[in-house]
Each structure stands twice: as structure tokens, then as C-alpha cells.
Symmetry: C2
Subunit: 300 residues, 2 copies
């Protein structure tokens, strides 16, 4: 599982930095989390294929987290997309999107399925390869974080060995589940000759925009990587609190409390040109901190 940053800035675009959007990639499939203005262009620029995007998650209704959504929804239709798109977002986005489509006399070429976020925490989607749940964080308006968990697809096949031992294709799924292969003559081919250990299960916690609070620690416990906003440096901690935002030290405290392996910080205020001080501050509390840089991908 990896996460690619498309926008790392807070509300006001500055210094070439864009508003919030990021893509979590699991077994080649992209999940888009938040969709600030310009996201469709950022996706093109950083090689994120729309054909591999089926699920979009919007944390809250501040514009820097969703003003790119109407454009993306429209552009996928202009390209004649057929596959459904699943949108998990605050309920009020549904009539807004419908209104935008109606006014343009647009009928999308693909089904757009809306799933309103619940009031508190809850399961949003579970597939064969991943699961996404949401949890409430504390922001100026209703806001959710998302926990993305990859599922193992079982053990990894060794293609050369499977061919050499003449394992029929229909048996591959059972090999992945760890079974041995038994020939008609009773010979047993041990599973460990045909497979190796599959990829690890990973947990990525996206904490959206939030003030510093331990109220959601329970939901992000033991995440491999936590993304936490750090809009202001510590010197502006009062301002951060007043505006329901956080500082690097606070984000680092959250990562520590949650027992995370890695912390990714972003959503930087336009007042800061330099981002290194954000990392420096966070590392005093949680050494394994990375600054989210647009276009970069991070292993979860």
C-alpha cells in the first residue's frame, strides 16, 4: 500500500502547492481521499490513471477538500467512462452534484453511487482487497477521518514452480489459501514449494482537518502510517486551536499515542514557504516523520 500526495497545502493555494488531495494505491487500485481544486490536473501530472480509480472519499465540506470534485466527475464522463464510481461524502454533496449536472444538462456516462458519511464512525466499503472505515475528528464543521486497511490476497504464487509441477489453473486460489496440491495418484505437492508469503496487511489512517484531540485515537490504533494535518507551526499553537487545526508537535503526539510506525504531515498554511521546520518540530516527539510533498509516493 502506498499513498501519493496530490495537494499538501491548506485552503489558499501558494508557492505552487495545491489544496488537499491524496491517492492510496492498493494492489494497483487507486482510492482518492479529498479532492481540492485542481485534483484532476494533478492526477494527470502524476500519472494516476482514472481507470484505476473507483472510490472517492471526501472528509468535509470546506472547499479546499472538494472543489475539484465536480471537474473530476465531469471529466471522467467526457472520456466516456463506463465503470461505476463510488463517492463517500457528507450527505449535502449529493443534491449539490445533482444540481451541477442538471444545470449543465449532463447525464454521466457511468453510474455515480453516493454513500453519505454516517454521523459518527462506521464502515464505508469492504472489497476483496481493502476495507475503509470512517471516524469523526474535531473540526470547525462536521469532519471525518478515514482508516484504509489492505487485505491480504493470500500467499503469493511462484509461477515457474506452478508450471513445473503442472498445477492446473483452477487450483491457484486454493494454493493462495495455503492448501497443498494433491495429484490424482495421491502425490502431495507441499504448498511451500508453490507459494511464498503474501503481502502484509497494512493500515493507513487519514486524520483530515482536526484540532489536537485524543478523541479518535481508538480508531487509528497501531496504524502503519498516520497522516495528520499540521497547518501551523508550534509558535502559532493558539491560532491552530482557535481555527480547529493542529501543529507538528501535536500530530507527533497523536502518532505516538496511537503507536503508529510512521507519521506523514501536510495541509500547510500559505504563510509558510519552507516546510522543513514542520518536520523538525514533529521529529522532536516522533522521529519517523515525513513531510507530504506533492507528487511523492510514500510506502504505508
Amino acid at each position: 500500500m502506498k499513498v501519493t500526495i496530490l495537494g499538501n497545502n491548506s485552503a489558499l493555494p501558494a508557492f505552487g502547492r495545491n489544496p488537499t488531495a491524496q491517492v492510496v494505491t492498493i494492489y494497483g487500485e487507486h482510492l482518492l481521499i479529498d479532492c481540492g481544486e485542481g485534483t484532476q490536473v494533478q492526477m494527470q501530472k502524476h500519472g494516476i490513471k482514472w481507470s484505476k480509480l473507483n472510490h472517492i472519499f471526501i472528509s468535509h465540506l470546506h472547499g479546499d477538500h472538494y472543489f475539484g470534485l465536480p471537474g473530476l466527475i465531469n471529466s471522467m464522463s467526457l472520456l466516456g467512462r463506463q465503470a461505476p464510481v463510488y463517492l463517500y461524502a457528507p450527505a449535502a454533496i449529493m443534491p449539490m452534484m445533482q444540481n451541477i449536472l442538471d444545470l449543465a444538462d449532463t447525464v454521466l456516462t457511468y453510474p455515480l453511487h453516493f454513500h453519505p458519511l454516517p454521523e459518527g464512525s462506521g464502515m464505508l466499503v469492504e472489497t476483496e482487497t481493502f476495507k475503509v472505515t470512517c471516524f469523526p475528528v474535531e473540526h470547525r464543521i462536521a469532519c471525518h477521518g478515514f482508516l484504509v486497511e489492505s487485505k491480504t490476497k493470500g500467499r503469493k504464487l511462484l509461477p515457474v514452480q506452478c508450471r513445473d509441477y503442472e498445477i492446473p489453473r483452477y487450483y491457484y486460489d486454493r494454493l493462495k489459501m495455503g492448501e497443498d496440491y494433491v495429484r490424482k495418484d495421491g502425490t502431495v505437492i507441499k504448498n511451500e514449494l508453490l507459494t511464498t508469503e503474501g503481502p502484509e496487511v497494512k493500515k493507513y489512517a487519514y486524520c483530515a482537518d482536526t484540532l489536537f484531540t485524543d478523541s479518535f485515537i481508538q480508531y487509528i490504533k497501531d496504524a502503519d502510517t498516520i497522516y495528520h494535518e499540521t497547518t501551523y507551526l508550534h509558535a502559532d499553537a493558539e491560532k491552530a486551536k482557535m481555527r480547529y487545526h493542529s501543529t507538528p508537535i501535536q500530530a507527533a503526539e497523536i502518532a505516538k499515542m496511537a503507536g503508529a510506525k510512521q507519521l506523514l504531515i501536510g495541509h500547510f498554511s500559505s504563510k509558510y514557504r519552507e516546510l522543513a521546520p514542520f518536520r523538525d518540530e514533529a521529529m522532536t516527539v516522533f522521529p519517523n516523520t515525513l513531510v507530504a510533498i506533492e507528487g511523492n509516493s510514500y510506502d504505508v
Copy 2:
């Protein structure tokens, strides 16, 4: 009067080209015409100051002409703007913008005055320095073009001569209107000693998205510069017609019929990487044609 191109592409962003937005500058004041996604970033990039922008015009409700509006409206507020903004747009934009602001719990720091476009043609705004009227064009949904006319500020004062002849400041406005100055002793100082001819009145016609039709020629007659869309090359004239768009030859015919001095073409389909063929085609009918390039400014 000059026009600066912020976006010259049609709906789908491609080859680094953005959706439609352009700025008409008159005596240092900017008028924004259409506001595709990314316009606020394009304005920053090309040095268009928001403090000099008071009037915004939206031609129609296809997303590539207004999806950048909510972001721009919000960002100006985040910067604490006080001066009012006047928005001339299809009526349905008003409740949409209000809904977006309400959902974000945002109260703008400045007054936003909405002026819905009339059904047909009509006057939108007249100031001391310019006048903007709108006229209907023929597109898939209701769509307006805009005619921007600069006004002369009268004759241009010659500051050295005015000082040498000891003309009192309160008299300057009358000098601009062409009056002579008469001293208390009856001596007449002829106006031509104190002023030169003022800047020319200019007309810029923005024809928005439209199929080829002479139905609006009456409104753009004798414009100095006509901006006309050319979404498709002539080989795709059938497709252009079907989708209510135009070709370079058609745009050139319009410029010729209207008696324009200059033609500016834009709104290029994402299927074309190269733009030179658009100019080549148009020039066969109307030689003084320019291709709208992002970041470039064109004298009207």
C-alpha cells in the same frame, strides 16, 4: 484595453492547457470572464492581482467555465478582502454559491453582489471607464457572450504644461472634457496647449461557446477584437455543429461579417496537441487572427 488568457482549452484539461478564463484589463482594472477550474492559481501565476478585480462574468453553466469560481470567491475572503465583488452569471449560480458557503459555515469578508444574466441581451454594468453588455449565443444550454467597451476618460493632461500655465487642479476635469482655461484677467489658454488626445475607445467581444451562427452579429459589429471559440478544426465541422461548437473558418467568417479588426481564437479540444493549424485555417478567411495562448496578453 488588453486581454490576458488564463485558460484556452475546452472541457477536458490537456497538454498543460486549462479550461476557459480570461481577464480584460481597462485602465488597470481587471474584469474576469469565465472562471474554469484552476483560475485562482492561474491568476497568481500570471500576476493578475485580485485587489484590481471587482467584476466577474460567467457565460454559462458548463463546468469548464465556472468550476473555479467557488475557490476564487473563498480565497479572496480568506485574504480578508473588503471591497465588493460583482458577479454577473446565470441565475442558478446564486443559490449554488450560497449553499456552498452555508455548508462550510463561511461568511465572506466582503459583499458579493449577484446580477443574474437576462434572458436575451442587456446592459450588465456601466462605470466611468467601461461598459459591459451581454448577448445570447447558441450553445447546448443557455449561454451569453459579453461585449466590453472602454470609455475614454477624456483628453490626456500634459502635466508639465498644466503646471507652467498655473492651471488650478479643480479645473483638470474640465480640461479633460476639452474646455479652454480662462484666467481672471480674461487671457484664454487654449486646450490643445494643455492636453493631447485621450486613449481610444475600444470594443472587445467575447463570444463564449457557440455554434456557427450570424444571430449575434448585430451585437459585436465593429468590435476591435473578437474572441471566438474554435473547439474543432474544419475536418470536424459536423462534430462541431452537433456539439454546438465552431471551427476556425467559422470563427473567421464571424469576424469578417462583424467587421472586426482582430480575431482571437481559443477553447481548443483536448484531441489537438498542436494549435498552429487553428490559426492557419482561420487566416484563410480572416488574416489578422491570433491563437489565444495561456499567460499571453493581447492588445484589443
